[in-house]
């Protein structure tokens, strides 16, 4: 009897794996592919849709899903093992690997205490100014060092202020939400600003190169997108203060206690200066050398330097780096490239255009709205970077200016304001247990309206000046 219970329980836990398998097997063996879709493209679509089911429902660990995507490409005869392996590892994956390790190296330096002092010096004690400071600093920092790094460093500062404002955070729920969301949404709006702001930006750059669209330098990316980051900061602050209405106008006591706490760290130490200098070198490498060496290689050089100077131990990097995510992105990019190579992405793009062109006359509006809507919606269900890996090849085949469509897609992948799963910064604040899912909805729709309007403004008024 117990064996039956165990089997039933396994089925309960793995039902989405079974659904994905039944779905995939049925499509492969019993459904005739559309006449205009070649068998390899059809199988690539089966793999990617099965992977999406598994990623969203999580019946398996991410590395298992990555391995599934890799071996299925070979088993279904889409490509040879060697080709799949070569697509699996590229500069975008190097970048994701490097940036995850750099995050560990930077966070472990304790620079967050310096950051806290710096912010307080800038903002003073008024709540609205602190929320504004958190949003602006999170956005600007995240645009260079990635949102997960910034959120990891800013969270202690935010939570310490909350703790000092009131021992029971439930009594200052508005203040708590305003501070934590200023970190999360600040980091999210900032993450689009430069290629190093998020893995998804580098994935898009990688697709441009792989698909022969062209290359965009670090500074060019900033030129196209950074104005939107700066434009959104003040409006984000207004949205947060309007939505969450902090209970205290002034955080005098909390700020004083915070200053006392961080002052214990003493003067900036040599190793902290070294950590800052090394990151500055990496940054300049990204700006001036990435076209020759690749963003990923430069990130790995940074990791090497942090290890060589003894600023971080390998054991720490090894323990705190999410290797499963790296595997998954490698696999997702490889299947993304196969979607392009086999014509699967083009087939979906054609289908979208032929169906929607009856509704929307202008090809430019159609391409832009499809890429933004598809990416924005999927980001809220999946994750921003995974969305770009999957959707990228399709939207680039929609036609029009592929660079601008790519920019729009990378930007829209940061529109995951509605749920805790889309962006790492949102997941991080949710893990504090102090903000609820409905808080994301309350502020998220306003942020989505702001971001869509900002993107529209950028596309209509700024990009034409640059092209």
């Amino acid at each position: 009897m117990n064996v039956y219970v165990d089997i039933l329980f396994w089925i309960r836990q793995k039902k989405w794996l079974l659904i994905a398998l039944v779905y995939g097997i049925s499509l492969h063996f019993w459904v005739t592919p559309p006449a205009d879709l070649n068998p390899a493209a059809y199988d690539a679509l089966i793999i990617i849709s099965m992977a999406l089911i598994l990623i969203i429902t999580e019946p398996l660990p991410l590395p298992a899903i990555a391995i599934f995507m890799l071996f299925m490409q070979v088993v279904l005869g889409i490509d040879t093992a060697n080709n799949v392996a070569s697509y699996f590892m590229n500069d975008a994956v190097f970048f994701i690997m490097g940036s995850l390790m750099l995050a560990v190296a930077i966070v472990s330096q304790g620079l967050d205490k310096r950051l806290a002092l710096g912010i307080i010096k800038l903002t003073g004690h008024k709540t609205w100014r602190i929320v504004a400071g958190f949003t602006a600093i999170s956005a600007i920092l995240a645009s260079f060092i990635g949102e997960h790094t910034v959120a990891a460093m800013m969270m202690p500062v935010g939570l310490t202020l909350v703790r000092y404002a009131n021992k029971d955070p439930r009594k200052v729920a508005g203040l708590t939400a305003a501070l934590l969301f200023s970190i999360a949404y600040g980091a999210t709006i900032g993450s689009i600003g430069t290629p190093s702001g998020g893995g998804r930006n580098v994935i898009m750059m990688n697709y441009w190169t792989e698909f022969g669209v062209g290359t965009v330098s670090y500074l060019e990316w900033m030129k196209y997108i950074y104005p939107m980051v700066l434009f959104q900061i003040p409006f984000t602050v207004m949205i947060l203060l309007w939505t969450f209405k902090p209970e205290q106008d002034n955080l005098d006591t909390a700020v004083r206690k915070l200053v006392v706490e961080v002052a214990r760290a003493g003067k900036v130490k040599a190793r902290e200066w070294m950590a800052i200098v090394l990151f500055a070198l990496v940054f300049f490498g990204w700006v001036f050398l990435s076209e020759d060496y690749g963003l990923g290689i430069i990130a790995l050089v940074g990791v090497f330097l942090y290890l060589a100077f003894g600023l971080v131990e390998w054991s720490e990097l090894n323990r705190k780096t999410n290797w499963g995510v790296i595997l998954l992105f490698g696999a997702a990019i490889s299947i993304g490239i196969q979607m392009n190579e086999t014509g699967a992405a083009q087939w979906i793009a054609n289908m979208i255009i032929s169906n929607l062109s009856r509704v929307i006359d202008s090809p430019t509006v159609l391409q832009g709205s499809v890429s933004v809507l598809l990416t924005g919606v999927m980001s809220n269900i999946l994750s921003s970077s995974a969305t770009v890996a999957v959707v990228g090849p399709i939207v680039l085949d929609l036609g029009g200016d592929q660079i601008l469509i790519g920019f729009a897609t990378a930007i829209a992948s940061a529109f995951g304001y509605f749920t805790a799963v889309a962006a790492p910064a949102c997941t991080i604040i949710y893990s504090s247990g102090l903000v609820k899912s409905k808080d994301f909805l309350r502020a998220g729709w306003k942020m989505a309206v702001l971001s869509v309007l900002s993107l529209l403004g950028l596309a209509l008024f700024w990009w034409p000046v640059l092209r």
């Binding site: 999580e58 202690p156 995510v325 799963v421 893990s431």
Partner: protein, 300 residues
Amino acid sequence: MINPEALRFLTAVSSSEYSGPTLKMGSLIASVFDAHLGVVYVGDKANEFHGGAVNLTRHNLENWDIIHPGLEVLKWALGELKRFNPNNAGLARIQFNADHIFEEDGRIKVILPEEKGCRVELILREGDLVDQMRKEIQLEGYDLAIIGGSQNKQHLAHSIIQYLPSSIFVLQKFSPQKQYKLLLLVDDSDATQKSIEWGALIAKKLGWPVKTLTVSKTKLFGPGYQGAADMAKTYFESRDIEVEQFFISGDPVTTFVDFAGDDHMIIMGASTLNPIKQLLFGSKPIKTLARTGVPILIVR
């Protein structure tokens, strides 16, 4: 046979806001039986994509003396247990230390100093409630899981009863001040014997009167039903526990629920039906839990 000297109970808590009553009852029941009490916090698991970023943040938060929200709940739970058991000197001496934790088997265990009389364990887990409680029960061999009356009762009742491998006590509107009567449901199934043992243990410890109820769908009560009811009566009387017998014809679940009203605590055996049939059609315990508002102990 139940070994009353080595009982191990497990209770789940989710927050200081909502779990107070469940913890209080868990503590009371454990102290009445002098049982070991495991308190498990089962929190949301971060989406795997960003799990690394969340862990990195948590490590960093430790440098600021900000602990995992689950550990905060367990710290609160320990404080509450001390408050509920003011005479337990061993428990009173124990201090919560968030640095003294040990990660093993996919859970975090708070290491508490050995103190005589203190039989408490604090565990943090993340993920699906039923899955995590099942793992905890399998790992530590708990006899009884104590669960609050959940708002998602209908949804959870099925999974909890079907998959938790221990006896389950669901505290629905359970009040320690109230004088309950034990309603022991007796039939010819294998689980009846263990239900009788639990019933006798509770009746003896709490001094509650016992009623045994045997329900047949027909007017006839076969030798199996009659024999089980007689066995129960003999068992209770041999332990000087007052017992009344009732035999009623009708739909079992409706009869249990109507008979229990709001002043009984139900004890019934877990279903011996094929698990697949239970999944498809439900079982008496699953249906009874879904329909009754009184505390219910399902014995496995």
